[in-house]
Every structure is written in C-alpha cells, then in structure tokens.
Symmetry: C2
Subunit: 165 residues, 2 copies
DNA sequence: AAAAAATAGGTGTATATACACGTAAAAATA
DNA sequence: TATTTTTACGTGTATATACACCTATTTTTT
C-alpha cells in the first residue's frame, strides 16, 4: 500500500484507518484536510511533467490573471490559496527557470515587480489546459453538487469566533 | 492585511481575490484547498501553545488510538491524513522532546516500534481537549450539514479515473 | 523639514513535504 | 539451503511552510 493506492481510496475511514469519529463535524474537519491532500497530490504529480510545483503554478496563474500588467510580490501573496506561502522564495525558483523577471518599481523603490516571460506564458498555457482537464476528470461531482459543496464550505468558515489576535 | 485577517474572511472570492471561476466544480477545487489551509492554520496556531506542530500532534493521536499497544512506523504512516508525511523524521522530533520512545521490534528487527511516554500522554491529553474544542467552535456547521458535507467530499473523491500508474 | 511609524520585500531557521536511494532483515523462490 | 525479492526504515536533497527579523523606502506625524 503506497501513496498511489491511497489516491484511489474513497472512504475516509479506509484512508486514515479510523472508524470512530466524535461527530460528523469532527469527521468533516478530517475529511476536508484529507481531500485537500488528495487533490493537491494528484495535481502536483501531473505538474511534474512541466517541472512545476503546485505553488509555482499558482504564482504563474496569478500573474497571468493580470497579464500584461505587472504585479508586485505583495499582490501575488494576497491571491495565494495558502496565505503563508513565502512568495519571494517561490519567485526565486521561477526566476532561475527564466519563467518570470524581477525588477524594481520606479514609482516605489520598495516594490519588486514581476513579469511573466514568454517562456513562462508558454509553460503556463500548456499546464493550465492540463490542470483544468485533470480537475474536471478528477472531481467526480455535478455542477449542482459542486454548488452545494461551495455553500457548505463557506458555511464551515463562517465562524463566530474572532481569531484575530 | 495579514494572515490573521484572512482567517476571518469567509468568501472564497475575497480570500483569493478572484471572481471568475470556470465552473462550480473548478471553484470547489480551490474552495477545498483554501478551507484546508484555513483549518490547518488555526489549529496549528493553537498547538504552538503545546510546542507541537499539526503533524506531530497527528502522530501522537494515532499512537494514542492503539495505546497501550506499540505501533511501528509503517502503521503510523498509513493512518496519517497526509500520506506523504515523512514519519521517521516527525518521530525524530517527538523523541527529542521525549514524548515517544523508539525501540527495535524483537519479532522483526526491521521494525521500529514507537511508544508514547508519560510526557507524551500528558501533552496529548491536554492538546486533544483544546483541539476538539477549537474544532467544534470553529466549524460553524450543524451535524446535519456536516453529514451532507462528508457525503459530498466522498463523492468528490469517487473518481472514475484510475490514477495508479 | 526632521523624526517616527509603517510598508515591501529579502533572508535565516526549524519543520514538513515529496521523492529517491541505501541498508538490513525477512520472505519467497529456486 | 542459497539466492533473489520484498519490506521496513533511515537519510539525503530540493522545495515549501511558518515565522521572526533586517534593511531600504515611503508615509505619517510632529
């Protein structure tokens, strides 16, 4: 039983070998974490073909969203799915592969502006088609169910508890 | 706008500053990834009080599930939520903090068996109460909705595509 | 205008992830 | 029984996460 085997396991109970959950709410917490791992793992495996990590792909996709406008590091960071991503370091790797270019903003010298290169655009276009196809094939769910799932996830995050310190 | 601010943002559109999703299915993919990040981040912040990372907590909890039986590294690994976790290394850190003990199995000398120490049990008991409380407070969802969410997540993972290479 | 505060982004460190590979032991096979 | 294969686990490496801190700017306040 290896990682690949798990990708085909559907039941949470089987995936984490646990049958006793305190409540459906507690189970939902684990289910969300496990499903995210599963999704990320499958997509990352496919992205390897393009020499990209999931996070590098994310940064490129964010840049494409504003293209041909440039974006500063901060703008990219606040669009990342995982907010604690260290964007300067991810950009280091993209720059090494010549997929983006860094330069200092003329208006505000504190800002570093990032531009997609032609190479970056090519790789992104090819990988986006693949990721979109994989996602559609992978997520075995109707549009209606997906809409419902989106509502429930938003409900999940609608906590009363104010966690800002 | 920092990480703490995001924890209180409910709408996915606002969280990742993106309004155009190709479909509800595509949006659901991002929603699952974002919700998992959000949940993991909040719980990790609380676990810092006990000097534990989310993954270290996970290993301790798995060990507790079989306690007072010992478990080998492999058994722990296949119960992890994130299957690609490097369990020997996580155990290194737990051992340094004297929360677990390693020894070689007498029956199969390849196996390393792991035992919770008294210290490990104490920390785990205290942190488990906290994590369960936080989860219940945090996940603003009824048992019925949670049940529905669990069904939908299972549906999501019920792909036809066989990804085992 | 000068001083203080805030902001942008780079960098250091510990931990984790993802994956490849090595070694010892056990199991399977010849 | 000897050889091969498999298994369990540790370890090395690149990347990412989480967080703290530093420096150069810009903005705000005095």
């Amino acid at each position: 039983m290896n990682v690949y085997t798990y990708i085909c396991v559907v039941k949470l109970e089987q995936a984490i070998q646990s049958t006793k959950f305190k409540s459906e709410v507690q189970k939902a917490g684990l289910n969300i974490l496990y499903t995210a791992w599963w999704l990320k793992t499958v997509i990352s495996k496919e992205l390897k073909e393009f020499g990209l990590t999931h996070e590098q792909y994310n940064v490129l996709r964010i840049l494409k969203g504003k293209y041909p406008e440039q974006m500063c590091v901060r703008d990219i960071a606040c669009r990342m799915i995982e907010k604690s991503s260290n964007v300067p370091r991810i950009i280091d790797r993209l720059e090494l592969k010549k997929l983006v270019k860094r330069s200092t903003s003329a208006l505000d010298k504190r800002e570093t502006v990032i531009t997609l290169t032609q190479g970056g655009i090519s790789i992104l276009d090819a990988s986006t088609i693949m990721v979109n196809n994989i996602t559609d094939e992978l997520l075995a769910i109707t549009e209606k169910d997906a809409g419902h799932l989106n509502l429930l996830l938003e409900k999940v995050r609608a906590t009363e508890k104010n966690l800002v310190p």
